[in-house]
């Protein structure tokens, strides 16, 4: 057994008038000759140790100092000793050891009950401990009340307060409560002992409500769970929904890189003249969009090109291969009269008169320009044989409705975002088609007729062999984003080509605006491409020019279905408009 020495456990003053010290005797007491423990004390201003005046009043192993022995602000030292041995010593002053007795005479009264009778308010009162002289202000006490339901384990605490009454609100009348209070001197930290427990039972005073239905606690957990599930379902449904608008509202598309100097807002607002003014930076190009007809906007092309000036007619120009300035990558030899090669000063002008061979750099340059060329709202030749083009550019190539014109006309798809990806594929395509035709990804607008038609660079005559392709797709394409020429949409344009597969434009390709975004176009085209796997050798339909038939800003432009009068060709619907959405997508 461990030997425990006698120890002074604590000294306490309940009211700052008397104090007592308590000790434990330890267990050595039994082992050796029983010793008599003494408690000696000394005030700080005294020299001698004196013995405890009262060993009895506070119980066993205690020493009680009554009021005459107590000086409040005087330091004391007490020591536990027996004969010559000092076992423990403590020094303190009485004001530091004040621990009041518990309050007495706890009682409660009903203040009121709720209308339903389920809850009630009570007022709890008590008296200060009788030993503490609060009335004369010798000691100032604060009280802390704790309460709980009878079958609970945790006590609820109220803030310590000076008053001897406190209301308790909203207690359940169906339950019984327990209340206990303890006090401390206001300037101390330690509380005294708790009072006796006060039992509160509403049924005893006749307002207990045992038959009241238990109030269901608000099922927060269920609310949270169902809320989260609902939200998840909503999000998933939005993501999976085909509603583009809703989708774009909730999940807006990530903006694509912008073109310097061109504000897509301008396009949105339909202020093409401003756009054109921005774009028309090059000397060689003039663009003029507006004519008398409000509905028609034209892209005026620069005809200062000496070569072009030599053209006898627009048609010739269109058809002439000499002026092909199309993407050499595409193999076209269109005049790049309307293309983006003009506008941006920082855009390196590609040599459009290059040969059919395309190299990557020029490709990219041209592509860049192509995409920046907002006015090049032209249907793209569809390159059916190039199924590997998944992009929009490709879509444009596989243009809905084909003009039968020469493939020299390069169709420009101002789909910038498609530039990158289709570049290679276009490349391939071009190389594929080099022999056949100049693949027209873009058609450059070389002029605008007074009638309001956009004259595209001459399509490739060599492509005449290629029939017009119907820009129809057999399949259902996603309507939301595809561009379709009106004519296309209205009918499938039969292409007099020796190609087999000509998917038909399905009329359900309509969207309400009569045109479709590039995405759908591209999707469609992709589908087309996929579907027309069998036509490898088909030349891509010549690029299309279209005149802008309708400007429905900010939604986009509907290009005129009527194409330029190209002999031997059936100009089908001049599709190739790019809706503003697509433009915006392409554009930065």
């Amino acid at each position: 057994d461990i030997l425990q020495w006698p120890q002074i456990s604590k000294c306490r003053s309940p009211e700052m008038e008397t104090f007592s010290c308590f000790w434990t005797a330890g267990n050595f007491y039994n082992l050796t000759v029983p010793r008599i423990l003494q408690l000696l004390y000394k005030k700080s201003n005294e020299e001698d140790w004196k013995e405890c005046p009262d060993y009895i009043t506070s119980g066993q192993n205690s020493c009680y100092f009554n009021a005459s022995y107590t000086s409040v602000w005087t330091p004391y030292c007490v020591q536990l000793a027996s004969k010559n041995e000092v076992y423990d010593k403590k020094c303190f002053s009485v004001d530091e050891i004040v621990l009041p007795d518990p309050p007495v005479h706890l009682n409660w009264t009903l203040l009121n009950t709720s209308q339903t009778g389920i809850h009630g308010d009570i007022q709890v009162r008590w008296d200060p401990p009788p030993t503490a002289d609060v009335r004369k202000g010798w000691i100032t006490l604060e009280y802390e009340l704790q309460y709980k339901e009878v079958n609970e384990t945790k006590w609820k605490e109220l803030k310590p307060r000076l008053s001897t009454m406190v209301p308790l609100y909203s207690l359940k009348t169906a339950r019984d409560y327990e209340i206990r209070i303890r006090s401390r001197q206001r300037t101390s930290e330690k509380f005294g002992e708790f009072s006796d427990i006060l039992y509160v039972s509403f049924s005893q005073i006749g307002i207990g409500c045992e038959h009241c239905t238990e109030e269901v606690e608000f099922p927060w957990f269920l609310v949270v769970v169902f809320g989260v599930c609902g939200l998840a379902v909503t999000v998933i449904s939005i993501m999976l929904s085909k509603q583009p608008r809703l989708k774009m509202l909730i999940f807006p598309p990530v903006p694509v890189p912008k073109i310097k100097g061109i504000d897509p807002d301008l396009l949105k607002k339909g202020k093409l003249d401003e756009v054109n003014s921005i774009l028309a930076c090059h000397d060689n190009y003039k663009t003029q969009l507006y004519s008398d007809d409000l509905w028609v906007e034209f892209i005026e092309l620069d005809i200062e090109d000496p070569e072009e000036k030599n053209r006898a007619s627009d048609t010739d120009r269109l058809l002439s291969e000499d002026h092909l300035k199309s993407h050499s990558c595409l193999g076209t030899k269109d005049d790049d009269s309307g293309r983006a090669s003009c506008c941006e000063p920082d855009i390196p002008e590609t040599d459009f008169s290059a040969s059919d061979t395309c190299d990557a750099t020029s490709d990219s340059g041209q592509f860049k320009k192509a995409t920046e060329k907002e006015e090049d709202l032209l249907c793209l030749d569809r390159q059916d044989n190039d199924e590997s083009l998944p992009s929009l550019a490709r879509t444009d190539l596989q243009h809905r409705h084909r003009n039968t014109q020469s493939e020299n006309s390069s169709v420009w798809a101002p789909f910038e975002d498609s530039v990158e990806s289709p570049r290679l594929s276009v490349h391939t395509q071009i190389s594929n088609q080099n022999s056949l035709t100049s693949t027209d990804f873009y058609a450059q607008v070389s002029d605008i007729t007074p009638a309001g038609r956009v004259v595209l660079s001459p399509g490739q005559k060599s492509k005449l062999g290629r029939a017009q392709r119907a820009g129809c797709t057999e399949q259902n394409f996603t309507m939301d984003n595809t561009y379709f020429c009106e004519a296309d949409v209205k009918k499938c344009i039969a292409v007099t080509s020796h190609e087999e597969n000509e998917p038909r434009v399905q009329e359900q390709g309509y969207n309400e605006d009569g045109y479709f975004t590039t995405e759908s176009l591209s999707t469609t085209v992709a589908n087309l491409g996929a579907s027309t796997a069998a036509a490898p050798s088909s030349e891509m339909p010549v690029a299309d020019y279209t005149s802008i038939h309708i400007v429905q800003s900010p939604q986009g432009l509907v290009l005129n279905a009527t194409a330029l009068p190209v002999p031997d060709k059936e100009f089908n619907v001049s599709c190739g408009y790019v809706s503003t959405d697509q433009l915006n997508k392409i554009m930065p």
């Binding site: 700052m16 330091p75 020094c91 004001d95 009335r135 010798w138 300037t187």
Partner: protein, 220 residues
């Protein structure tokens, strides 16, 4: 003159009827006078606050600097106010005349005016003194001044006879706060804080006793 008489009369009437408080004087008012009860209320609040802050300061100081040092307070006799005979228990506090007690309180407060100023300034020079201790030192010095003013007002109201002599004790402990030896210096600080802790408790208690006696007729 008439106004003053009217004020006095109404004041006495109100006190007799047990009205607990008169409207508080708005700022800038010249003739407004707080009731004695209001003055005592405020004095008790300030004295309680001073004791509270000094307790915290003592505790923080001990915690911060006590490592390795034994801050057992030296004999209380070392407090410079020990020469003032103050009531040491309830009996003595009951028996002392309220004017004497008020003067005693004033004496203690005045005795601490000087040491607190020096405490506030010297504590700044302690190495790595926490911000809270610095702030508290300044706070108790300011509040002590406030309490002193309030007590002088109360004494002016309550005192019927001539103002007794100033009974405050001088303090010569400044050198001990400026000792070169850090340990000794910190001990000196601790003792001073401990002495003030005790004296502020005394003042708080005496004021409460006086308040209950004078205002509430021993029936707080």
């Amino acid at each position: 003159g008439l106004l003053l008489v009217a004020l006095l009369v109404s004041h006495m009437l109100l006190i007799k009827e047990g009205v607990t408080s008169l409207p508080i004087c708005p700022k800038g008012s010249v003739n407004c006078q707080l009731s004695l009860e209001e003055l005592f209320d405020r004095a008790v609040k300030v004295s309680h606050y001073i004791h509270f802050v000094s307790s915290e300061m003592l505790y923080e100081f001990a915690e911060h600097y006590a490592q390795g040092r034994d801050f057992i307070a030296k004999a209380v006799n070392s407090c410079h106010t020990a020469s003032l005979t103050t009531p040491e228990d309830k009996e003595q506090a009951q028996q002392i005349h309220h004017e004497d007690l008020l003067n005693l309180i004033l004496g203690i407060l005045r005795s601490w005016n000087d040491p607190l100023i020096h405490l506030a300034s010297e504590v700044q020079t302690i190495k790595e003194a926490p911000e809270t201790i610095l702030w508290k030192a300044v706070e108790i010095e300011e509040q002590n001044k406030r309490l002193l003013e309030g007590m002088e007002k109360i004494v002016g109201r309550v005192h019927s006879g001539e103002v007794e002599n100033d009974i405050h004790t001088p303090w010569d402990g400044l050198p001990s706060l400026q000792l070169a030896d850090e340990d000794s210096r910190l001990s000196a600080f601790y003792n001073l804080l401990h002495c003030f802790h005790r004296d502020s408790h005394k003042i708080d208690n005496y004021l409460k006793v006086l308040k209950c006696r004078l205002i509430h007729d021993n029936n707080c």
